[in-house]
Symmetry: C2
Subunit: 150 residues, 2 copies
C-alpha cells in the first residue's frame, strides 16, 4: 500500500494542488483566506439580495446559504499566519499586533453566523431573517473597518 | 423595520460584498467557483501531506479537513453558469456541452469526499485513510483532465 500511495500521490501532485502543508507559505495563506472570504461574500451577497427584496425570498435557499456561511466562518482563521500582512493582501498588520482582539471579532462573526443559520431553518419570510442577517453582516463590517485595507 | 434594513444594508454594501445576486455575472461566477476550488485544494493539500507522511498524521485535524472538503464539494457547482467558460477561467466549454457528464463527475467527487469524511471520523493512522483519500483525489483528477485547461 505504501507504494500504491506514493505512486498515486505523484498523480495527485499533478492536480496543481499545493502540497506544501509542511511549510505553508505566506502567499498560500493569503490566497487561502481570500478564497474563504470570497466564498462567504458570494453567499452573503445572495442572502442580502433576498433580504433587500432584490430577488425573491426562497426560504430553503436562504437557509442553505446561512448554513454555508456558518460553516465557512470557521475556516479563514488558519490563513492568518504570522508575517502575512504585507504584499498582495488587504489584511492589516494590526491583526498580528491585536491578535486576541481580532480573534474575538472572528468569534463574533462565527456566533452571529451560527445564529442566522438557526433562525433561517424555520423562517418563512425575509422579515424573519432580516435582523439576524444584519447582526451577522455587522460583524463583517466591524472587523473589516479595523483590520482590512481600503 | 423596513427602513432599518434599507439603511443598514447600505452599510453592508460598503463591505465590498457583491450584492448582484439578481444578475450574477460570469466574472463573479468564475471567481466564486475558483475560490471554492482554492479552499478545497488547501484542505486536500494538507491531508495529502499527512497521507504521504510529510507532516505528522493528526487524526483530529485530518477528520476536520475531510469534513471541510465534503462540505465544500457541494458548493462549486452553482458557479458553473452558462457562458462562463471563456476569459479568466481554466474551465473548458466542454463542461457546458457535456453538462450531464460533468454533473456526474461532480457527484462522484461529492460521494468520495463524503466517504473520506466518514472514514476519517474513526481513523487513527494515515494508513486507514490513505486509500479513500486516493479515491477522492482521483475524482478531482478525473474531472480536471477532461474539463480543466492546462
Amino acid at each position: 500500500m505504501k507504494k500504491l500511495l506514493s505512486v498515486s500521490l505523484a498523480g495527485v501532485l499533478s492536480l496543481g494542488i499545493s502540497m506544501s502543508a509542511n511549510a505553508v507559505s505566506q502567499e498560500d495563506a493569503i490566497e487561502y483566506r481570500q478564497a474563504v472570504m470570497e466564498v462567504i461574500a458570494w453567499n452573503v451577497g445572495q442572502m442580502g439580495a433576498m433580504v433587500r427584496g432584490k430577488i425573491r425570498f426562497d426560504a430553503q435557499a436562504f437557509a442553505k446559504r446561512a448554513g454555508n456561511v456558518a460553516f465557512l466562518s470557521l475556516l479563514s482563521l488558519e490563513g492568518f499566519i504570522p508575517g502575512s500582512y504585507e504584499g498582495e493582501t488587504d489584511a492589516k498588520p494590526a491583526i498580528e499586533i491585536n491578535w486576541d482582539h481580532f480573534n474575538a471579532k472572528m468569534a463574533q462573526f462565527e456566533e452571529e453566523s451560527a445564529k442566522l443559520a438557526e433562525v433561517a431553518k424555520t423562517a418563512k419570510t425575509r422579515r424573519e431573517v432580516g435582523l439576524q442577517f444584519m447582526k451577522m453582516a455587522k460583524t463583517c463590517k466591524g472587523c473589516h473597518r479595523r483590520y482590512k485595507r481600503r
